[in-house]
Amino acid sequence: MNRRYGERVTELAIQAFLWFFRIGVVLVVIVGSTLTLTSGRYDPATWFRLFADGFTLGSVYAMIALGYTMVYGILRMINFAHGEVFMAGAFGGYFTAVALDDAGLLNANPLSSLISIVIMLLVAAAVSTVIAVLIERIAYRPLRNAPRLVPLISAIGASFFLQYTFRGFFGSRTYSYPTVSILNEDVGIPLLDLRWVQVLVIVAAMVMMTLLYLFVMRSKTGTAIRAVSEDKSTAALMGIDVNRAIVTTFALGAAMAGAAGVLYALLFRQVDFFTGFVPGIKAFTSAVLGGIGNVPGAMLGGLFLGEIEAIGPVLFFTGFGVPSVNQLKDVIAFTMLVLVLVFRPSGILGERLARQRA
């Protein structure tokens, strides 16, 4: 009946449990990796391939994550519909690609292929931006001062609405992207299995993210966005149009997501109305991993998640003789998420935000 004593025991039990948890994870990682590496089943080329796959996918996650992180930074809300904005971009890119293919431009020569892809990226970014701005206007702006769960539910509603709108528009079938033949060719570095499409995705993602970063950090609008995400009312007093800053944030994030949609579709060669869901959740995970609200953090988080998804299952689990390890890549991704939240809730780079809100 001694409450104090009881509390101490629970406290201890929880601490013990958490340590058990940590040690367990570390053990699985170390023992699994050792077993896998010593088994000699994989040669360095395979590891490189996995690494490259992870980096490519991670760049896409990073681009989507930027939208989550910026919107969270400025509105403190999870834009649940962001995955659908990404999917809209993939669809926009698809129809552009078909049109370009019909015109014979997509595969005419490498230069024309490249220009076609740039056009696809631009169209996709435009489509996504329009949709995100509309969603912000209709589903989020009226709820800006509402309690936190309200916009979250509205965002979930928007997510469903967009998914099934696209299903209504384009049907439930999976559209396969037109082939850009040059992208599937090997880059030709000896021993390394690297395709041009991976190079394209990584380079495009890096360029766009750098541009975005510079825009947010250097430009006047970017400064306004950062000011609003620090403190809305003070920013408004400084003469910043808060609404415009918020819309710009949505537009920027959406443009990145739209472009990421095209890149993702070029990688996996297909798109359907449900395409946005899983990458959306993964990208959100990346944003949290990197420290939500933090732009470089989102980029880092995305790359990290991509790598851990690509390499993790093989590295940690093959050694234990687990069948079909690739099924478990999402388990690793989400375990990572929980681990980060438990042991470092501010994310990899999230110190500033965490302290600011403490």
């Binding site: 409450r3 509390e7 629970t10 406290e11 929880i14 449990f17 948890f21 969270y72 403190r76 999870i78 129809f95 589903a139 709820l143 800006r144 001062n145 509402a146 309690p147 936190r148 769960l149 916009p151 979250l152 539910i153 509205s154 979930i156 509603g157 928007a158 469903f160 609405f161 967009l162 998914q163 099934y164 709108t165 299903r167 209504g168 528009f169 384009f170 439930s172 809305k232 009312s233 408004a236 808060v242 959740i281 959100f284 995970t285 949290v288 687990v322 069948p323 079909s324 099924q327 478990l328 999402d330 388990v331 989400f334 375990t335 929980v338 939240l341 438990v342 809730p345 501010s346 403490a358």
Partner: protein
Amino acid sequence: MTAISSTITRPLARRWRHVIAIGALGAAVALYLALVGIVPTFEARAMISSVLALGETFVLGTMMVIGYLAARYFDGQPAMSVLAGAIAGLMTGSALTLLMLIGPAIDLRSIFLNASDSLYGVLTLGRGLDFLWIPMVGGVVVGALGGGLRILPRPIQKSIAAGLLSLVALGLFSNLLRKPLLASPFASIGRLLFASEGLTLFGAAVTLSGALGAGIGGAIGARFGSRRWGMLTGVALGMIGSLVIGLLAADLAPSALARPEFAALGGVLGGVIGVGMGGLLGGAIARRVSSLRLDRQFDALPSPARSAIRATPLIPLLFLVLVLPFAFGQNFAQVIVLVAIYILMGLGLNITLGLAGLLDLGFVAFFAVGAYTVSLLTSTSPFGIADFSWWIAVPFAVGVAFMFGAFLGLPILGIRGDYLAIATLGFGEIIRILSVSDLLRPWLGGPQGITNVPKPFDVPPGDPLSGPSQIYYIALICAGVIAFIAFRLRDSRIGRAWVAIREDEDVAEALGINLIQTKLLAYALGAAFAGLGGAVFAALIGATFPTSINLLVSINVAALIIVGGMGSVPGVIVGAVVLIGLPELFREFQEYRYLFYGAALMVLMRFRPEGLLPSRSVQRELHVEENVEPAGAPVGSSVAQIEAEREGDVERDSPYSEPPAKETP
């Protein structure tokens, strides 16, 4: 009202600009409805038999609403109202005409699947592309009608709107209502009102008469002091009047009702008589009733008698709930079982989310644990590990789910707010992936799941308790038990501790509440109830498939609580009926279920964020916040809160506003 009065002073050009904007909105909505496939797909469903189909209803409804909205800018100017409505309607219709002009020319079909001949057929009322003007004319007429509606006095406006809405509702649910009506002694009335699909024209006339009767009766009743009684008599007499005429006509000249124009005439005639009588009689009754001063007499009654009278309406309701599975057939029984299971889980999450304020988006994990535990313990397939009966397996399922809740809850207790939502979402996904994975396949059956789960009651086929109905009763009883537990917990010491944590964790801790124990208990209790839900679900399906375990379950449960009203038990029931029951009933439009679901979530959050049936404190809270919403107000501005506190209203019951996430202690 302030918005309306301020519009009158606006300059004319500005008002027309608004009308044009509304028209453009209508055009966009009409195009959306057409291209997303709602118009052509729903054309297959009759609203008013052989007169109006659901697809057309959407277009006409849009035009009408647009016309009405456009007329808002010309209040008190009848001609202008009609004109504004007509113009906005014209714009809406023209968009469709334009679509039919451009669509075939540029092969729009290669992008938008629905830009097909069947769509164009619907839009031209089946006459083909030579009749492009039909939507435009329709837009003008219906838009003008919508604008004209605005001229009428407010109560009449309301009753017409209500009549049109109930027309749509009755048309949609006609299949459901017709079946029991035909089986009852009132079969002839049933046949008169409902066609094999949708309402008959006569039924539509009866519905409108009823609504109109309500308006007029209410208006007259209001003059005599009791609007409610006037409306009630108005509805009753309006409908009875037209029904009587209809029945007489059916007796005297059976062939007359087969002709739609006669049927409508009969309905309208009956409606006019009924409405007139309803108005007068309603007034008389209202006068008599208000002279009785019933409310004072009610207040004078002793307390037990008062609660007995309050509870009276519940008795027929209870009866209805008990006979539901038999009244409407097997399909319907299946739907309400699902609703009952979601009520069960909603009540569970209501403890975690509604009381303790922990948003759990991975609720499906515990649902899965419950379902798999029951399946493993009872299944007669090779995966079964014990041949328990369902009843013995359930306590195990609940216990295992509880332990899982505690186990998963431990590491994440320090996480707050949105982070918690996303961490739990991660858990849900982990469990889902594990359940399909090859890793656990030797035990859980992988994608094939575990089949051959026996029913709780082993009854021969043909028995009334075979099929879903027995599960329905079991789910109801479970839901009742959980509701009772939740109700008793809410005002207990632990319940108050949960609410305190929801309001402010730091303050709660300072007051001596053990955060970890209290939160863990909320989390694990919610998990246990989800496990119970899973156990019932496994019995319903007779198996556990990993496909039943998906994020949608978690989202559904969270959404139904919020839509129903957080922390309120009736709210959970309403939320489950609205979000689970309604979409299941319209399985014929499966493709569009989640479209409407999503739209409904957005609309609800916009216009009724406190939910459909909120607990009183939540409602008060949200209305306090509404009062302080000047543009650009600082986030979380709490002027009203401070004022409320100063007035002694210290019940700051905000389940939503968790403090921002902080580092774990």
